[in-house]
């Protein structure tokens, strides 16, 4: 082992360590900060921009290089670049503040976009803009959770926003045709789930067109299917009931 002196050491700066445990040993590689996530997402394609050096370490901060036999035992190859790629892809790393920030920002926007897509202003039946929703989310101090899906969080946000502003999920327009004998009974059961009944036609069979909250769709679907044993039909006329076209204010 060479003598460890200040003159022959190579100091690395801006290090982000990626670790992986394999074959009972811990391996580390030295990468640049803020680059590993880009590599994983495919935005960065140049490996040299990610790796500081293509040496595999046991411990980066101490400068202990991994032994060759350990590497070949664990990875089955001696090609350092290949091993580095494997570690980059599967190893664990600490996400830097910048990376986390962009990720959260992106999720925040995504949530706002989903909310804006799903909701309308109940007075005008028109959607809100994304930037307005973003501002409203900041007003209620909504904090994004990185490990929950954006859609889930969007539903949560809608619930919270309802308290501060006029917002409502855009209604879904449904039509169902029920056989006459079940019609009356089923109608009573469906009543609480429907928001607006637009038309109702009861001769041989009951035909209804109505607006519902999209959250109840599954419930209604299930109800009709079970109760009518597959005789009733359900059809989605429109996913979102919104005003179309531009309107001049006068």
């Amino acid at each position: 082992m060479s003598i460890f002196t200040p003159t022959n050491q190579i100091r690395l700066t801006n290090v982000a360590v990626v670790r992986m445990k394999k074959g009972g040993k811990r391996f580390e590689i030295a990468c640049y900060k803020n680059k590993v996530m880009s590599w994983r997402s495919g935005a960065e394609k140049d490996l040299d921009e990610v790796l500081q050096t293509n040496t595999v370490f046991i411990n980066v901060s101490k400068g202990q290089v991994a032994k060759k036999e350990d590497l070949s035992k664990a990875f089955g190859t001696e090609d350092l670049t290949e091993i580095c790629k494997q570690i980059l892809a599967k190893g664990e790393l600490q996400v830097s503040d910048k990376e986390r920030q962009t990720q959260l920002e992106q999720m925040f926007r995504d949530i706002a976009t989903i909310v804006a897509e799903k909701c309308v202003n109940p007075e005008t039946k028109r959607p809100y803009t994304v930037s307005l929703i973003e501002r409203a989310m900041k007003d209620i101090h909504y904090s994004v959770k990185a490990n929950k899906s954006t859609k889930q969080q969007a539903l949560e946000v809608i619930r919270q926003l309802k308290e501060t502003m006029q917002i409502q999920r855009a209604h879904m327009r449904l039509r169902f045709i029920l056989p006459a004998k079940e019609g009356k009974r089923l109608k009573e059961k469906l009543k609480p789930l429907l928001k607006v009944v637009e038309s109702e036609d009861f001769d041989e069979q009951l035909e209804m067109v109505c607006l519902i909250d999209p959250g109840c769709f599954r419930e209604i679907d299930e109800l009709i299917r079970c109760e009518t044993k597959g005789k009733g039909t359900l059809e989605v006329l429109s996913l979102k009931d919104v005003e179309e076209g531009d309107e001049k204010l006068e």
Binding site: K33, S41, Q106, N121, Y128, D139, L249
Partner: protein
């Protein structure tokens, strides 16, 4: 002159011969409001010392701060000349191009106009515009050349030079008038020509070609400005002086003994005074003599300025003053600023108000002299001829011309704009100083009360008759007072709208019942529907575009103040309150249903600057909407609209106008915090045929592809395992429960087809409605005309979609999308599935063989979802055809039992067959027992929708994708000298010039160009700035255009590497747009957080 009382003005209002309605027009900063100040000062409303500094008519705070006028405001002045009293209704207008709509509203109400030109700057773009407006409205202009002091003080011209300079300016102005005249004559001639051609189309043999344009025959001499005509005043409003030649002619005829008529003719022009011969001779210029105007007029002014301002020679000033017969207060003569002394002298010697007002009274027409031509123009809308109007309406013309104020004459009023005032400013709610009588009355009342009180306390035991009166009156009074106070509290802060209007005929009274006529009202129809001789008192309001209401209070407009009036006779400008519910922006009011609506105002500037507006706090949305509605009413030019995206868009004429609108919204109408931002720009996604050449125009496939360093490893990982893509772009995808497999291919539609579908979306919607009802077994009647146009659409589609690829594609169309009527098509290319065609409304009878397969609906829904948001940036697709080529379902089922029919069958067979396919699904189904279909992936129809959507998206991605940008066409009018700069701005913003041509009879070029909407923010403003306002664009949405560059492009061939380098650093326009949209929506953007790893800031320790 003292303050003119209201009574006097009311008295004058009844003499239409002595009324002058005029407005002041000019380029920005040429001194309109200053001149107005001088005129206002002459009536003692403001001190003459403050005239020119106060800017009395600029009542808004931002007008005072910015120093520009932003609205037109009226004031009534009194002036007497030659023993006659005149009432002058003066309207000051803004000069900035953003507010030219305000100018239009002012011009409409006037009979004459004062056009002001800066003596230094000469004719400017807005000067031309206002002259044109005055011309179009047929009102007579007079000219004031202002700021002559700048020629002396700033340019240091000699009087001789100044004379030639003034001459040049006059020529410029006359040239503009001349060109207006020529274009009109040419237009008339062209009209005549076409008429002649129509009439005598048969005999071509004997056609006489007339080369003269007809200009020679038409007389235009009285149009031009000339000092000897008496329609030009030279002035310096800031120093308070101004003169016309008449004044000097009059002065010198007495002094020199020359007849004033001779002087009048010779004072302006190439004449000089031969002192020896005591004659006035022609040809001053050629002989090098001083023209008469210089010698007699300018020299005097120059020497005065020289003495007072430049040399400050006390003795000479004294001499001049005594020779002019002017007395100046000691305070002024001792003032340290020579300007004060100067204006004190000048305003006595040559007061500008006198010069201007005399000219106005002499030269401008009174309401009585309104030209018949102008009346006809006002009364017929659009291309309709006056003769076509009903007889009764034609009779109204006489009432117009006579301008009678009898009670019998029909009332005709035109409202040109609505403006908002604070309720505090209304005279009813204003505290005014008490008059003598009122004070006396109150004193009397108080005394009485006191006496009563005394009496009451004295005679407490005797309840006498008179005493009961006292307590009765008092509480009443108190109640009334509190009531009033409450009302005021409520109304405080509420905006009141006042209609800015003019009476053309009849007498308007407060509370009168009238008809309000909208711009589309047709008098012929109105007359037919309303019974003969019906009056406004009957509430018969069944005629379209006509409403019946009673007028609110009438006001005399006095700049910042309003005076309440009881009645207003014809020929006057007035304000009408309480009309906000009836009139939006402008309207015609009449007592006669025969009255036609006036021609709409012609605005020089149309609104072009668009911004999206949002409240700071989302909960204040309703307030914003209300505020925007009010703003829309108060501003003649602003437009507000809600877009489909939910944005509230405000469209204004320019940046300054926008600023004013935002201020108004914040402080007056909405009273909330708002923010304005760039509006959202829509895009479309499409696919194209694979390109044949690469980015450096080399043919593809011929040269070697460079060994790509970064192997495209995503190629495989892009698609999950369930998806297979073959080389021709056919995507096969299996649903999550492995029960159904779908094969979809995406094909670009020909451009004509896309356009056709786009244009016929209404028809397609009708077809869809029909098909839906057919499906349920009902029938919907479609009228013959629609059927024919559907047939036509189909025929056209067939003619556009030819070739092997599209064989019988039209008949196999399954659906349109998105929303079932968009410009994308789903084609059924399945073997053995014949579903009823979308064209079934064209077929007489249905063939029995065609039935819907189960889950047909899910496929359509999946297609709709896919076309609604594409994979590039979740924008709708356009011009894409998806062809479904494979659709296998492993579920055995009976046909025709409804969507849920298969449940029971599956239950029966579930154990044996589907268990192997979906073990989780069926085991769960057994457990639940009620329905086997409920597997862990949700209902099957839902899965199929998702699968179809995904398949379409992958099929789309398998083809070369392109972004489509919305395009504006823009028409730019520009003069030759700024043409180059217009082109510069256009090319900087990715615009493309389509054509350029010269307008006949003018030197204006008309450029037609297309410009992406994404680049249009700030375009209008930039082009105006770069061309100093000489070019103004007009933007209209026209079409969608494919952006030719590929957003996912990276260099692949050797040439491309050479040309663009490894990373292709040059900006990819399509990628820029795409990433912009993705970032806005919070979608994943392929972007590195740090570009260069080594170039990060090192936060090192101890190194």
């Amino acid at each position: 002159m003292g303050h003119t009382s209201l009574d006097k003005i009311i008295a004058l209002q009844n003499k239409p011969a002595n009324i002058r309605n005029l407005c002041i027009l000019a380029h920005v900063d040429h001194g309109k409001t200053t001149l107005a100040d001088c005129l206002v000062a002459s009536n003692g409303i403001i001190s003459s010392r403050l005239a020119g500094k106060l800017r009395y008519l600029d009542s808004r705070e931002d007008e005072q701060i910015r120093g520009i006028t932003m609205k037109s405001s009226a004031i009534s002045l009194h002036y007497s000349v030659g023993g006659e009293d005149y009432l002058i209704n003066l309207i000051d207008s803004p000069g900035h191009v953003d507010f030219s709509s305000e100018v239009s509203t002012a011009v409409r109400l006037c009979d004459g106009a004062i056009v002001i030109v800066d003596a230094v700057e000469g004719v400017c773009p807005q000067t031309q515009a206002v002259l044109r407006q005055a011309w179009l409205e047929n009102i007579r202009p007079v000219l004031v050349i202002n700021k002559i002091d700048r020629l002396i003080g700033e340019l240091k011209l000699t009087s001789q030079e100044a004379y030639t300079h003034l001459q040049k300016i006059l020529e410029q102005v006359n040239a503009v008038t001349g060109s207006l005249f020529t274009s009109k004559v040419l237009e008339e001639r062209a009209e005549k020509d076409s008429e002649v051609r129509e009439a005598g189309g048969g005999d071509n043999g004997e056609q006489v070609y007339d080369w003269s344009a007809g200009l020679e025959e038409s007389d235009d001499s009285d149009l031009y400005f000339s000092p000897d005509q008496g329609n030009v005043v030279f002035a310096s409003a800031i120093d308070g002086w101004g003169f016309s030649i008449h004044q000097f002619a009059h002065m010198y005829s007495q002094k020199m003994g020359i007849r004033s008529e001779v002087l009048l003719k010779t004072l302006w022009g190439d004449f000089y005074l031969n002192a020896k011969a005591k004659k006035i001779m022609k040809g001053a210029q050629s002989k090098g003599k001083k023209p008469l105007f210089v010698q007699l007029v300018l020299d005097n002014i120059w020497s005065l300025y020289d003495a007072v301002v430049l040399k400050r020679d006390k003795e000479k000033v004294e001499k001049v003053m005594s020779s002019l017969g002017v007395k100046v207060a000691a305070r002024d003569s001792r003032h340290s600023d020579p300007r004060v002394l100067l204006s004190a002298i000048c305003s006595q010697w040559l007061p500008v108000s006198q010069a201007v007002l005399t000219m106005v009274c002499n030269r401008l027409p009174s309401p009585l002299d309104m030209a018949a031509e102008r009346v006809e123009k006002l009364m017929c809308v659009g291309a309709r001829r006056f003769d076509c109007l009903p007889e009764k309406t034609q009779e109204l013309k006489r009432a117009f011309l006579e301008c009678k104020s009898d009670t019998s004459a029909p009332v005709v009023v035109f409202v040109s704009k609505m403006f908002a005032v604070d309720s505090k400013a209304l005279p009813q709610n204003k505290q005014r100083p008490l008059t003598q009588e009122e004070m006396a009355q109150r004193r009397e009342l108080a005394r009485q009360r006191h006496a009563e009180k005394l009496a009451a306390s004295q005679a407490a035991d005797a309840p006498a008759q008179p005493l009961s009166q006292g307590p009765d009156v008092l509480p009443d009074h108190g109640e009334a007072m509190t009531l009033k106070a409450n009302k005021v509290d409520e109304e405080e802060g509420k905006e009141h709208f006042i209609a800015f209007a003019r009476v053309y005929s009849g007498v308007v009274r407060k509370g009168q019942k009238v008809f309000v006529l909208g711009p589309k009202y047709d008098p012929a129809e109105g007359l037919k529907k309303l019974p003969e001789g019906c009056s406004t008192a009957d509430d018969l309001c069944t005629v379209p575009h006509m409403a019946c209401c009673s007028l609110g209070s009438l006001y005399l407009l006095m700049g910042r103040e309003l005076e309440e009036l009881e009645e207003v006779p014809a020929g006057n400008v007035l304000g009408i309150g309480g009309m906000e519910d009836w009139i939006l922006k402008s309207a015609t009011i009449s007592t006669s249903p025969a009255c036609p609506p006036f021609t709409p105002l012609n605005f020089e500037a149309t609104p072009i600057v668009r911004v999206a507006i949002e409240p700071k706090h989302p909960s204040e949305m309703p307030k914003l909407v209300r505020g925007m509605k009010l703003l829309n009413q108060a501003d003649p030019c602003a437009e507000v609209l809600i877009q489909e995206t939910g944005e509230h868009v405000l469209v204004t004429a320019g940046e300054v106008h926008l600023q004013r609108c935002l201020d108004d919204l914040r402080e007056r109408f909405a009273k909330i915090e708002i923010s304005a931002s760039k509006p959202i720009i829509p895009f479309r996604e499409t696919i194209v045929r694979p390109p044949k050449v690469d980015m450096v125009n080399e043919e593809l496939g011929k040269q070697q592809k460079v060994a790509v360093i970064r192997q495209v490893k995503e190629e495989q990982s892009k698609y999950p395992e369930t998806v297979q893509v073959d080389s021709t772009g056919l995507v096969t995808l299996t649903t999550a429960n492995r029960m159904a497999t779908i094969g979809v291919r995406a094909i670009p539609l020909p451009e004509e087809v896309t356009q056709l579908l786009e244009a016929n979306s209404d028809l397609i919607r009708t077809m869809e409605l029909f098909n839906l009802s057919m499906k349920e077994g009902k029938t919907l009647e479609i009228n013959q005309k629609t059927l024919e146009s559907i047939q036509d659409l189909k025929r056209k589609l067939e003619s556009y979609m030819q070739g092997r690829k599209w064989r019988s594609a039209v008949n196999r169309i399954w659906s349109f999308g998105p929303r079932r009527y968009g410009p994308n098509i789903l084609v059924n290319n399945l073997e053995g599935y014949r579903r009823p065609s979308v064209w079934q409304c064209l077929e007489k009878e249905r063939s029995r063989a065609e039935t819907y397969r189960e889950f047909d609906n899910s496929i359509v829904s999946g297609f709709q979802l896919a076309t609604l948001s594409g994979p590039m940036c979740e924008e709708p697709l356009m011009g894409v055809c998806f062809s479904l080529e494979k659709w296998d379902m492993k579920l055995p089922r009976q046909p025709g039992d409804g969507v849920y029919g298969q449940t029971s069958d599956q239950e029966a067979q579930g154990g044996s067959e589907s268990e192997s396919v979906v073990p989780t699904g069926s085991s769960e189904g057994k457990r639940r027992n009620n329905s086997s279909l409920v597997d862990c992936y949700g209902p099957f129809s839902g899965q199929l929708i998702a699968a179809m959507k995904e398949a379409c998206r992958y099929a789309f991605q398998a083809k070369p994708q392109r972004l489509m940008a919305a395009m504006y066409t823009c028409e730019i009018m520009a003069t030759a000298e700024v043409l180059g700069r217009v082109y510069g701005v256009l090319s900087k913003r990715e615009g493309r010039v389509l054509q350029e041509e010269m307008k006949e009879g003018t030197e204006v070029f008309i450029i037609k160009a297309v410009l992406p909407v994404a680049e249009s923010f700030g375009f209008a403003d930039e082009i105006r700035k770069r061309t100093s306002g000489l070019a103004s664009p007009q933007l209209i949405f026209s079409h969608w255009e494919v952006i030719s560059s590929d957003p996912f492009w990276v260099p692949t061939t050797e040439e491309e590497y050479l040309h663009f380098g490894e990373k292709a650093d040059s900006i990819n326009q399509a990628l820029k747009y795409m990433n912009g949209v993705r970032r806005r929506k919070g979608l994943y953007v392929e972007e590195k957080i740090v570009e260069h790893a080594e170039k990060q800031r090192t936060l090192g320790k101890n190194k």
